[in-house]
Subunit: 325 residues, 2 copies
């Protein structure tokens, strides 16, 4: 191979994806594996996963490790130095080690939204959190988890929806269509069985969050669903509010996580966001977290990503992404 | 013995207490045992517990089972018929069976507040719930547990307190004295360690609820603590609001659970309660749940509890209660 190559790996809760490309933004191949969340899999499994992904990329491209400058692994659950060190330790005997950089997958999401390392990320997934990175310093606002209140999260959305069913039941009100759907979703006939069902779930938080989809499907037609979604969005706006003084207003606020994948939710949110914070811009990342990890690999070699390079990345990504989504 | 006797047993989360008395309200002896919560102990343990308590009462009084008309066991966790049947089944081979009546401990708390079987109970313990019993029918409002939001509970109180610490930290505000105490309570130096500590607890909900005491101690002096307590009380008032149409306004609303044991909390709450619901009366039970269970035993024999009997109960109870509290 002429010139060097860079690998980006994005390890999420359900899948891990990898991409390899050159310094001009030509993405050559992608690979896909299982969950890369360090809190869910063992360090041995993570080691095998990363090696497999790299091998897949090498087989597709005929590249060898000596052609690779950096492997940037952005892994869920690798937020703290202790976790990152665990991953480095796993590669102690491997030639990959000297090329490996480990970070949280949050950094890849941020890079996917900003094309760079710095900026602010608003995550509305199962949890809700603001993550900022400026001048090599990170800050977090929110992200307190379900026990201390994850307002603005998918859990919050699901919880409010289930509560609306229980409230209707307590007040002897008839159920709305989306509330009936929540009962069917849990396979129960009456609201008072819901509580037992939720607490009896193997993963109650996931069970509650799973209801969010039903509300999102209904909120354009149903007033109760609309007010639930509005409450969740208000909580996200308040999260921005409380982080406001620390947000770099020269960069967009990147919207990340499952709730923003819902188009009507995303559209309504950005309208409210703009009217509340006219000096801020909120956007969904134009590229995937996998490409974000690749960008971070380039950054490690201090390679400037110019506009033509960005275009090349987007063009070549479009040809590859079908293989891993 | 001349005449018959009645036994009341109140099984709670940390202790179970029993009392024996006659139809004129003369309480003769009390006994104390460990937790009687069916969700926490096995049915064999519960069987042994109840037998031990009865034996203790018999030893103290020289009474035998043939002198006893009814043993009323009001046990935490025995809300549903299935659980009650389990307890009856455990006594299948025992002569106690024909005298045994099993109910939830909630009924004993209600009886302790109303001297009768019917009325409304507002519970603000680890959970928050309204429990009503009218014409042999029960109703419940709230009580959805921590995952679906137990607004008005000790968990809610603790959660808001911890959130106030995290919020202060997110906004780089100095901590108030009671917030510092929360850090010491969890043995951490910085608010961001709180989250790890709470989620790492064996019983996170109990850990969060345990903070309530710190807020209650502070709320008369500290404005943030005051507003937290006010939010929790407002949630309890809203619970009453949503149950309002089903509450029997001829009977008092009985206040039950740990939060009401705090005198300033109780006093402030009753003031707000009276101004919000001028046609309702809220009160703390004049007698204990153990005596409530004894009253329910009397009710099983359709014995009227007249005012002189009530006086005798209160007088004789005062002599005994020191032994079991």
């Amino acid at each position: 191979m002429a010139g060097k190559l860079w690998i980006g790996i994005d390890g999420g809760g359900t899948k891990t994806t990898a991409v390899i490309g050159d310094e001009n933004g030509h993405l050559l191949a992608v690979a896909k594996g299982s969950s890369g969340n360090l809190t869910a899999i063992s360090i041995e499994q993570l080691y095998t996963l990363i090696n497999n992904l790299i091998d897949q990329l090498f087989i597709q491209t005929g590249v060898t490790l000596s052609d690779v400058e950096t492997v940037f692994a952005a892994m869920a659950g690798a937020d703290r130095q202790a976790e990152q060190q665990k991953i480095y330790d796993a590669f102690k005997q491997s030639p990959v080690l000297e090329k490996l950089r480990v970070q949280s997958d949050i950094h890849a999401a941020l890079a996917a939204g900003t094309w760079g390392r710095e900026g602010t990320l608003l995550i509305a997934g199962t949890g809700a959190i603001i993550f900022g990175y400026e001048q090599q310093k990170t800050f977090r606002v929110g992200g307190w988890g379900y026990l201390l209140g994850d307002e603005g999260s998918g859990y919050h959305l699901g919880k409010l929806a289930i509560r609306s069913v229980l409230k209707a039941h307590d007040n002897k009100m008839p159920l709305k269509l989306f509330q009936e759907k929540i009962l069917s979703h849990f396979n129960v006939l009456s609201p008072d069985q819901l509580i037992t069902k939720v607490y009896g779930s193997t993963n109650s938080v996931a069970a509650i969050s799973s209801v969010g989809r039903i509300v999102l499907d209904a909120f354009e037609e149903d007033l109760i669903a609309k007010s639930i979604v509005s409450t969740v969005q208000e909580a996200l706006l308040e999260l921005i509010e409380s982080a406001y003084s620390r947000i770099d207003r020269t960069k967009p606020v990147v919207l990340h996580g499952g709730l923003f994948s819902n188009k009507p939710f995303y559209e309504r949110f950005t309208v409210r966001f703009s009217s509340r914070f006219p000096d801020l811009i909120a956007l969904k990342p134009p590229i995937s977290g996998t490409v974000g990890a690749y960008l971070l690999a380039l950054h490690e070699s201090e390679i400037e990503v110019s506009d033509p390079v960005k275009q090349t990345i987007q063009q070549t990504w479009r040809l590859l992404e079908g293989e891993i989504t």
